[in-house]
């Protein structure tokens, strides 16, 4: 570097610092339900992140919409990196950072460090790094890379999960641990990977381990002490599942005593999965939380006759007591590993001539399912990935899927070309909803599979799988599709095809009519929220499997942040220790993903973009 360049750079830094100091600090906590330009007939029930980003989705409704509009369709071409940070951990970076009170908090994959960055001096050293040192053996029972999907902020604390089954609360100012509570047990194949949310002083945490015979549960911890307040199991007797007098499911198929036992053979429910490793929503008006449960275990359906409740089920529960209000089993007797742990997007919207309280659920089963979130009635179910062939649709009267018998799986038989693959029409990566466009932006996959069920043996702490799976690109050869779904008209408004790899990042929509997402080979993109035209893109060094967020910096300017760090289930082949000549490796994803290792390498990077 020559001296002239050095001088210019130093001057540039000085100007940047100067410009920060000259701007007024953004309001510490700002949220809104009133978005300029909201489409007719749309009403939000939960405040949106308007400057800060304090919970995994930004808001309780899981819209992942920010009204910030400084960066818009006209100026987005000028977006460029302004801050970068290495976490030092070259594993899959799922989730996204929090931004609270001028500080960015980054929760990393195992070893689950929490990094606090002062946004007044973002290129300086971190304010602090909290290192919780989870048990190393937890790495060996995590099904799909040693990931973490994010943290929540509440009442001066950052709360997040450690891979080894502990939830921690950390003082947001000092980085000191406030409490640590064991929620899951690695000896039984359980880990914690999901992002907790905090509702009225309760931290809601669910376990992972559906591939290892774990029994799913959602636990509410007291925010101040970490002590367990209630626990709702996904399988077992009604007393365990917290099904009581208030339980009023819409459909007959969900009614009857102790279905969490009776829909299994003998004691299979004790190792039956239904883990809760995705996203939780909260409706503050109805005081209900919503979340879905994962696959039944093992994957081999012949070994577990019955509906296997309450796996692959959407639950509505009282936020205070955890008592179930309604349930809807999206995948009765799942045979394809379609975990239904996706984001429940809650919005009031005009539907059939009147405004209804909707829950929009883009499923791993590749159907966009719209529910009345007060009653659990299924209002519509439409394919959002065209190649979907496991079912033709759902019967709205019974709530049951119309399953294609040719795609049912059985022990010893290789069933070919099931679409979608176990990784779904979308994976856990969350969609976004814009109240301005009325569109849900779904990170879609066009990936299919050959599936052979095998006899599974339960051995505690090891995979309880029972399947040999080989995935492959779906018809047309492309694997990624950003689907803009028109909720009201129940149709695809437009899409963006990502030719090489599944879309494995979350999506962010903004008041500037932009939609942000990343690709598995590292491109970070902004598209027009109304037409899908790609307006800007930037190549980060590693694949993007994280969720973009946006915030207002201490200088009053809008920024967009993303992690670049490939991994996760579909990105496993890009990590060391996975061989691309075994198409059945990484639970079958290598078959579809073997080209990925040529396109990207592991990293752990935070990028912040600004104008």
């Amino acid at each position: 570097m020559n001296d002239r360049l050095k001088t210019l750079l130093i001057a540039g830094v000085a100007i940047l610092v100067g410009s920060c100091a000259n701007h007024k600090e953004a309001p510490r906590s700002s949220s809104t339900k009133d978005v300029p330009g909201t489409a007719t007939g749309i009403r939000l029930v939960s405040p949106l992140p308007n400057g800060e980003w304090t919970m995994p989705a930004g808001d309780y409704a899981n819209t992942r919409f920010s009204p910030l509009a400084q960066i818009d369709t006209n100026n987005v071409r000028g977006l460029h990196p302004v801050v970068t940070l290495a976490t030092g951990i070259p594993r899959g970076h799922e989730g996204g950072p929090l931004i609270v009170n001028g500080t960015m908090y980054v929760a990393t994959p195992y070893p689950n460090n929490l990094i606090a960055v002062d946004l007044r001096n973002p290129s300086g050293p971190p304010k602090w790094v909290f290192k919780p040192h989870p048990k190393p053996r937890s790495q060996g029972v995590a099904c799909c890379d040693v990931v973490n999907r994010g943290a929540s902020y509440a009442n001066g604390k950052i709360v997040y999960n450690l891979l080894d089954g502990n939830t921690v609360a950390v003082d947001a100012g000092t980085g000191e641990q406030v409490w640590r509570t064991q929620v899951a047990d690695v000896n039984y194949g359980e880990t914690l990977t999901m992002a907790p949310i905090v509702v009225k002083n309760r931290v809601l945490v669910g376990n992972s381990g559906g591939e290892l015979g774990a029994r799913g549960r959602l636990v509410a911890l007291d925010l101040d002490t970490g002590k367990e307040v209630w626990r709702a199991w996904s399988t077992g007797p009604d007393s365990d599942v917290l099904i009581g007098p208030a339980f009023k499911p819409f459909y007959a198929k969900e009614r009857g005593p102790n279905l969490g036992v009776g829909s299994w053979v003998s004691d299979q429910w004790k190792t039956g999965g239904g883990t809760i490793w995705g996203w939780i929503s909260y409706d503050p008006e109805l005081n209900l939380i919503y979340y879905g449960t994962g696959n039944p275990g093992p994957w081999n359906g012949d070994q577990r006759p019955g509906d296997n409740k309450w796996s692959c089920t959407l639950f509505a529960r009282d936020a205070d007591t955890g008592q179930a209000r309604w349930a809807f089993q999206i995948g009765p007797h799942d045979e394809w590993d379609y975990d239904e742990i996706m984001e429940s997007i809650i919005v009031d919207m005009e539907w059939g001539g009147r405004v209804r309280k909707l829950l929009v659920y883009p499923g791993r089963n590749a159907f966009v399912m719209v529910f009345d979130r007060e009653t659990g009635e299924l209002l519509s179910a439409n394919k959002f990935i065209d190649s979907t062939n496991w079912a033709s649709g759902y019967d709205l009267k019974t709530g049951l899927p119309n399953i294609n018998p040719a795609k049912k799986t059985h022990q010893g038989i290789v069933v070919e070309d099931i679409c979608p693959s176990s990784t779904g029409g979308k994976e856990f990566v969350p969609s976004s909803f814009s109240p301005k466009t009325g569109l849900v932006y779904i990170p879609g996959h066009n990936t299919c599979m050959d599936f052979q069920s095998l006899q599974a043996n339960y051995i505690a702490g090891t995979p309880y799988l029972g399947a040999s799976v080989k995935m492959k690109p779906g018809p047309g050869g492309f694997q990624g599709e950003l689907v803009a779904w028109d909720v009201r008209n129940q149709r695809k408004a437009w899409n963006v095809i990502e030719p090489k790899f599944p879309l494995y990042s979350g999506v962010l929509a903004t008041g500037g009519d932009l939609v942000f997402y990343g690709t598995m080979d590292g491109w970070f993109k902004a598209v027009d929220a109304r037409q899908g035209k790609v307006l800007w893109q930037f190549k980060t060094p590693s694949g993007i499997i994280s969720n973009p967020v946006t915030y207002t910096g201490p200088d009053g300017k809008q920024y967009v942040a993303i992690y670049s760090g490939v991994g996760g289930w579909m990105g496993a082949v890009a990590l060391p220790g996975v061989s691309s000549d075994d198409l059945y490796a990484a639970l079958g994803t290598v078959g579809a993903m073997k080209e990925l290792e040529k396109h990207t390498n592991p990293a752990g990077l935070v990028y912040v973009f600004g104008l």
């Binding site: 053996r137 790495q139 496993a572 220790g577 490796a585 639970l587």
Partner: protein, 141 residues
């Protein structure tokens, strides 16, 4: 250092119980020994060229859930690939036996008290056969 190496040299197999024609392993160190010299008596796996045993090893690899972590044909996933160039804890027959028997710190369970030693040798033979012409049920291209 010298003492440690000489202890390693003195380890033999003559006084160990032999089950089913396979050598026992209790005295083998965990993993490769650091340092320039490792003159430990190498145990040979009686099943390494036995196609019937390799096919049995493939079955055990599935029935003991090994494939769930290490991939359908050993290509890795939750656990490391067993068909790449890298043997994290040594590639000798006894090291592979040892990894299976005693487990490893990042999540590999210790199987020594759960399954018979003979089956561990058969599993080790299957793992060594991966990517060789002897591999049973090799992955399709």
């Amino acid at each position: 250092m010298v003492a440690a190496v000489s202890v390693g040299c003195n380890r033999g197999t003559t006084d160990l119980a032999v089950t089913g024609g396979a050598p026992a392993i209790d005295a083998v160190a965990i993993g490769p020994i650091p340092g320039p010299v490792e003159q430990e008596t190498e145990l040979s796996n009686p099943y390494s060229d036995d196609r019937v045993a390799l096919a049995e090893g493939r079955k055990l690899f599935v029935s003991y859930n090994c494939y769930g972590c290490h991939g359908g044909r050993g290509g890795g996933g939750m656990g490391p690939s067993l068909r790449d160039e890298v043997w994290l804890y040594g590639d000798s027959a006894s090291h592979i036996f040892d990894s299976i028997s005693r487990g490893r710190g990042r999540g590999m369970p210790a199987w020594g008290k759960k399954i018979p030693q003979q089956q561990i040798w058969i599993l080790a033979a299957y793992l060594k056969s991966l990517r060789t012409p002897l591999e049973p049920e090799p992955p399709q291209p």
